[in-house]
Structure formats: C-alpha cells, structure tokens
C-alpha cells in the first residue's frame, strides 16, 4: 500500500506492506537510524517518536497508521544546525552515557516542555516513566531536562561564555592550585 507522511518537516511517500511497523519504516526505509529499537514490546521507550506532536512508541504503531500524520524523530530536533535546548541540556548535564535510550528520552522531554515549560522534577520523572535507561540512573536526565527548561532558547556559540567560570571563580581556582602546589598559576 502507499503511505505519505511528513517526517521532520519533509513529505515522504512510500510503497510498503501494511504489517511494517513505524520503527522499521523510519529506520530501514527512511534510513533514519537515530530512532532506536529495543524491547519490541512497548516497554523500553527507546523507539519513541512524536506523532502529531505526541510521544508514541513506534514499535507499537503501524507505518500505515502514521499515513497522513506528522512525525518527528531525533534527527528533526535540531533546527538550522542549532541543537534543540533539550539536546544541549543532555550535553551540559551528562544526560547520557551509552546513548541508547537518549533519542526517546529527548523527544518525550521536548513534548513535555512544549506543554509544560517549567516542570517539577517529579513531572519529568512521570513523563519519562515509560522509558528505561540502564546507564544514568535518571538523575542526570532530569537535570538535563531542567537545564533545557532554564534555557528555552538554548545557548549559541556567541554567548557560550555564560557557561564558563567567572573571573572571581577562576581566581579562587588559581589560588587553590597555588596552595596545593606552591606554584603560581593564572594571570
């Protein structure tokens, strides 16, 4: 059968078998392998994509059911070469280790922030409760999402200095090094 949908803003049309699952369509036909495929039983959430803006487990949706809908995968999070604040948050706060759960985690987080720009830690944990991370213990994921909530525009190359230590903090660091080593460092 023929299906058409919007994937990350582009129209795609394909001839598929009705039994093809959305996760396989995205990975194998569209070759967008950022969407991961894990448990296959709607439990782990690594396959989460946004369908008409809502997170869904793409291993439990037929590609045919996505006909006519708008899909966003992790590849569609960045705009014009700038990472989404959620992606930046995962970098800043070490929201990933192996990265297997990360695409799903980031898409659910994006959808959460779209409707609730200032979630509590509990609300973040609730939103991602259908998704598993075997590495981080979730604490850094929650911090990553909070970082994105605190930086709704993200940070750009030009103002990256906001993340760097202030002059006072650098002076303190230099003083500590000097104390410990007896060597003068810094300006």
């Amino acid at each position: 059968m023929q299906i058409s949908m919007t994937v990350n803003g582009s129209d795609v049309t394909s001839e598929i078998e009705p039994r093809v699952l959305l996760v396989h369509y995205i990975r194998d036909v569209l070759r967008l392998t950022g969407t991961h495929w894990g448990c296959d039983t709607s439990n782990c959430g690594t396959c989460v994509v946004l369908m008409d803006g809502q997170p869904v487990k793409s291993c439990t949706v037929l590609a045919a059911m996505a006909d006519g809908r708008a899909i966003t995968t992790v590849e569609g999070l960045a705009t014009g070469g700038t990472l989404d604040p959620v992606q930046q948050g995962f970098m800043q706060e070490h929201g990933l280790q192996c990265g297997f759960c990360t695409p799903g985690m980031m898409l659910t987080s994006r959808a959460l922030l779209d409707v609730n720009p200032h979630p509590t830690d509990t609300e973040i944990r609730e939103a991602i409760s259908g998704q598993m991370c075997r590495c981080t213990g979730y604490a850094t994921i929650v911090r990553s999402v909070q970082w994105a909530a605190d930086h709704p525009q993200g940070i750009h190359e030009a103002d990256e200095t906001v993340e760097m230590a202030t002059t006072d903090e650098m002076d303190q660091i230099h003083a500590r090094i000097a104390d410990a080593t007896g060597e003068e460092v810094g300006a």
Partner: protein, 297 residues
C-alpha cells in the same frame, strides 16, 4: 524481531464506513484502535487478522459529553484524555485514580477506553472502573444500536458481547448526587499491570446512609461487582468496621491464581486491604460531593 503476519489494512472514515468494512471483509477482519493490545498480540501471532480496520480517524468517537444526568464517553477517547479531563475528575474521581496507574504516559497517548474494554484482559483496569460506575456500553452493528449493562458486556477473560461485525461506540455513566468513587492498584513497578486493584463507587442518601454501593476487584478472577461486600454497607452510615467486613468478604469472593506477580495469599490480602481503602476514600469523597440542591442542572 517481532513482526505481525501479513494482513490488509483499511482506514475507516465514519462509524458506518467501519461497519461496512467489517461486513465486506468478513470474519477475519478486526478493528484496531490504539493498537497497544492488538499489535503486541499480532506480533506474537496470538492474533492473525486478515484485515485491520483502523478507526483512529473516527473523531466522532472521541468525546466526553455531559448529557442530562449521564456522562457519555466515546470509545476512541484515549487514556491521556480521560486522565486530563476536569469534567471526569469532578464527577468520577475513580477515573483519574485508575488512569494515573495505567501503563505509562506514552502508552496512554495511544490506548483507548473502547480498546481496553473490548480487549477484556482480566488485569485491565477500566473494566472495574466501568463496572462500579454502572456504565452502559453502546454498541452499533448491522442491525442497529443496542445498549448493554457492563454485566452483559463482559463474557469472560478476553471475551465481550461485541460481535465481530460490531463497534463499541460509547460508554454511558449515570451521574448521581452525593456520590464518590475511588480506585487503588498495587503493581510490581511503575507502569506494570495490577497485582491486584480495587474500585468502589458509593452514593449517599439525604440522611448520610449509603444508598448504593458497588465494589470491584481487578486481576483476581472476579467478574462483575461483589454483592456480598455491598450488602454489608447498603443502608448503613459509612463506618470503619463495615469497611473491614466488606474487605474480608471481598477477599473471600476473590479467586486469584499464583503467578509471577505473587502467591494466592498475598493477592487475597491485597483484595481485603485495597477494598477497605477504596471504600474509605469513596465515602469521604461522597460526603463532600454536591447534593441535588447545589448541583447545577
């Protein structure tokens, strides 16, 4: 890799179209709503329909509507919508209690009340909710529309009164004054199916005695509501010793099996304890709910 066996797919454009498609493609055609019970079964080849009739475009079945002293809920209403509805939370707090612990938020974006009831999984939560609220199922088929009480709707595990060529369209709930309801579930981990869950709905008479009460248990082999426990409470003022007796009788009426979720004794204990808890909170909610004079038309 789990992939369903081959099938053909059609997307219905209206209720009439869905019924026509079921008729045309015959006994091996099947409705798919959220697909979060059916697709996993198809992946495991526990179900092998030849045709899937997708009803996700039937927005006419996605509604929550107050109609006089009834609340009407369309079969395609998603778990998330039920959880977020202020109208439902006000009238039937048991829904929010249950929805909060059904699967996880992402699954709840897809799963529907119609799919849940038609799946008829013994551990499924909304069956108990609809049972104790004394819901009625509105079913449409080639012969027209029929309305069934929940007791007639359920035919046993994974079996309902909905024929292969029929569609569950909506569930209707009577709205009663001075009523309250509650649900409580114990699960192994967040998002899992119930080890045991209990639900209760009560309505109070003007003098504060219990006018009507319904108690149900999930995942312990009880079908319908538990008459023995209800009889203890009816006509009495809500009291802790009655809740305790109702819990004891509910545990006796339960018929759990031992499985990976726990042994029989544990499940009976939960049946008792959870029945008491939902009765306490349903009665407390009923006591503060609007009486007929304060209720808007």
């Amino acid at each position: 890799m789990q992939i369903p066996a081959p099938f053909d797919y059609a997307r219905a454009t209206s209720v009439a179209d869905a019924l026509a498609l079921l008729e045309r493609h015959g006994p091996e055609s099947r409705i798919v709503a959220g697909g979060h019970s059916l697709l996993p079964m198809m992946k495991l080849r526990l179900a092998r329909p030849e045709w899937l009739i997708d009803i996700n475009d039937l927005f006419e079945l996605d509604f929550i509507l107050r109609d006089g002293n009834q609340l009407r809920v369309g079969a395609m209403t998603r778990h998330t919508t039920l959880l977020e509805s202020a109208e439902i939370a006000g009238l039937f707090p048991i829904f929010a209690d249950a929805e909060r612990v059904i699967a996880d938020p992402v699954v709840r974006n897809r799963g529907t009340i119609g799919g849940s009831l038609c799946q008829g999984d013994p551990a499924e939560d909304l069956t108990t909710v609809c049972d104790v609220l004394r819901g009625e199922a509105v079913i449409r088929g080639p012969g027209g529309e029929r309305t069934l009480a929940m007791s007639e709707f359920h035919k046993g595990p994974y079996e309902t009164a909905v024929g292969q060529n029929e569609l569950l369209c909506e569930i209707r709930f009577p709205i009663r004054p001075r009523s309250g309801s509650a649900y409580e579930k114990v699960e192994r981990r967040v998002g899992d199916w119930a080890i045991v869950a209990a639900g209760a709905a009560v309505s109070l008479a003007d003098d504060g005695t219990i006018d009507d009460v319904a108690i149900g248990l999930t995942a312990v082999g009880v079908s319908g509501t538990i008459a023995e426990s209800e009889a203890v409470l009816r006509g009495e003022k809500p009291r802790e010793d009655l809740f305790v007796e109702a819990g004891r009788l509910a545990a006796l009426a339960s018929n759990p099996i031992a499985d990976q979720r726990g042994p029989i004794e544990y499940k009976r204990h939960l049946s008792d304890e959870l029945t008491r808890r939902v009765l306490r909170s349903a009665c407390a909610r009923a006591a503060v709910s609007p009486s007929p004079t304060t209720q808007e038309g």
